[in-house]
Symmetry: D2
Subunit: 132 residues, 4 copies
């Protein structure tokens, strides 16, 4: 894999549920935050896009859970991106630190709504890096 | 106590943390939802208020935790309201069902920001019920 | 579709994000809660299973987002279940009320860990209803 | 103020609600995480304590909200601690970066439950730093 961006994070105890491991929905938070930080690193603000009437929304997400994270774990969240027609498809993997065991693999199809209608976003097309 | 509004709810497992009990922050969610449902019952939409430039915000909150809720518990969240100067002060208590054991007692000071400035909100003053 | 279980719910404002719609991760909360309530309706406690050393965990989840929910929306979360080898596969759909517009469709592969090892759970096999 | 511990964090967009600012309950998450990281820095694991039958629980919390955090904001969460009878009282303040504007001030009364009963915890008494 040739990742475009990565973000190091640490489990917060409130993210663990009664099984003592990170609740499944929180991985979705982790990878959303990673996408937004990637945008930020390219000079794009998700909140400003929304204020400008451009909403990047998730159309479909697939997550495969491999190894659960638990209290105290550190991890790195990595992504690369492909442009497939009108979709921006993020490939996002999480690895536990320091052993780099795979925690989760996700594919996230996103699309842009311009004032509520499906459209293309020049700013994203120009500032993001797409893999072939 | 003479409560003005009450809402019955049930613990969702994802709200429990690694101690097996509802995480403290979720009680704040419970009572926020109760306040908003109270507004709804009086014909007021919190989201519409925001869209109209009126934001009710919490200035101060005190919560006393008495008995933890856990997986499977049902509870009732009750409130009454006082007007203290510019503040709307919500007194909010949660009781476990069916034994009505007290779970949490909160006092929530809220104020209105009209286009970002402290102000009064006629709609709230007219539609809500205040105790002396 | 021939659903086995359904649960009516309502959006809570804190579940909406800065786009003003329910944050994607919260749908995972909604459908997790629906699964657990389904178990409860069959006399199975997710928390008790965990205490007994049996953890039902999500191995893979796919969610297709169709129509966003927003503040004030009510919805119904429905599911049916198939047994596919060692996997319990939940098919979970959410519909907005009252117009029954499709909000989200999910397929959730779950497996049982018995004291940490992949296994089968007689209690689930006996008490749950599987479609062919 | 003479703070004992501080942790730098950044707002994650999913923590913002439909008002476009961090939802009140998330500040409680921020300061819980800060307390747990403080424990970690002193060689104490909150999760291990729970596994050993010792649960530090919040008995009472007061939070004063001064300035809301919003998308993209970085902040520092600081704390110091006093021992008041059987209570461990955390004084926790959050400041926005880089202007150090005060975001929130909290006082958090915690107590220890040893196998479910109020008690004292030697490990905490020995490893933590208390202000007079």
């Amino acid at each position: 894999m040739d990742y475009t961006f990565e973000l190091k994070m640490k489990v917060r105890d409130y993210e663990c549920d009664l099984q003592g491991i990170v609740n499944n929905a929180n991985y979705q938070h982790y990878i959303e935050h990673t996408r937004h930080e990637y945008l930020t690193s390219r000079g794009i603000s998700f909140a400003q896009m929304h204020a400008d009437g451009i909403d990047a929304v998730v159309a479909r997400i697939t997550m495969s859970y491999k190894t659960p994270l638990t209290s105290g774990d550190e991890f790195v969240s990595k992504l690369y991106l492909k442009r497939e027609g009108i979709k921006y498809v993020f490939y996002q993997d999480i690895f536990r630190l320091p052993d780099m065991k795979c925690v989760m693999k996700a594919v996230v199809d996103t699309v842009c709504l311009i004032n509520g209608r499906l459209g293309t976003c020049d700013e994203l097309d120009q500032k993001l890096t797409f893999q072939e």
